[in-house]
Symmetry: C2
Subunit: 175 residues, 2 copies
Amino acid sequence: MAAGRLFCTEGYGSTSTYAIARAAGISQATMYHYFAGKHEILLALLLETVRPSVEYAEQLAASPEPPTDRLRKLVAYDARLLASGEENLGSLYLLPELGDERFAPFHAERQRLFETYRELVAACQGSSLEDAHPAASLVLGLVESLILRRRNEPHMLEDDIATRIADAALRIVQA
Amino acid sequence: MAAGRLFCTEGYGSTSTYAIARAAGISQATMYHYFAGKHEILLALLLETVRPSVEYAEQLAASPEPPTDRLRKLVAYDARLLASGEENLGSLYLLPELGDERFAPFHAERQRLFETYRELVAACQGSSLEDAHPAASLVLGLVESLILRRRNEPHMLEDDIATRIADAALRIVQA
DNA sequence: GTCTATAGATAGATAGAC
DNA sequence: GTCTATCTATCTATAGAC
């Protein structure tokens, strides 16, 4: 969590292993007993952060509820996750360093999440998966815009922000 | 531009002044003849990137057109800017290092942009500036979601993506 | 205005005692 | 499992020749 806080606020390349260790209350060398390097810490944080969403999404995809209800639930769930927690861990998704191939396992998980969004949007629109792609991107983008908003104005988030985002998402999909 | 490319793809803290200079075809020391440090390069890139949007927005704010037309134009303009250019320079906005006070001039410019969005949304909704804040955040978030989308799937952007985003934005505002 | 050379600090990672 | 000590590499920035 010490690393998560620093990666989100200072950046990955700008955070030294010494700074992480100091924030965690251990020596810099001790860190290497648990992680082979800085990249393994970030990967662990990324997977921990995205997995609850993927699990919820795939469980929801198998539910018999109407697709609009399921999409609303998924959007609201992800928005609440991004808005909660002491740190704005969603901003780990914004790090340019994620292009490194070492973080491919995270991208695979996030791709699974997107696929579920796309299936739900297709079901809502009665369209093919291909045709649902643009709207699904807009919806996921709307959800993840909460990351930047939380960074830029952390004290101005409405209590009902997850509901607001879900409303907006459904209005986009019901074109 | 060499620095812009590297900051966007590798990150700010992960990009060395040596790497920038090499990409620009000069020596690392020569860089210091033009910039006092790496931060000044990033600041120059940020201001160059955001200023066209601010200027267009403030010019549009003084136009006699109906507010919904103006909001649509502004959203489409910003989306086209973010989607264009060889590099995805909008992703400079996502760097965690922007929290450093040296980049305050950029945040001031972006705040001016947001204020114009808020005024237009308020005019569209016939509401106060305070009440327009949440919707304006959603709209700007929708526009800027293009940054992440361009990073994650650069070859899957629709030709009419700016129009799509403008449509979605108006649907959110016209609640 | 551009370069080479280099200072001085800090980085990630390892060795080995306890 | 945690530490101190340290290696080697790399970093930002400066000095000074041309």
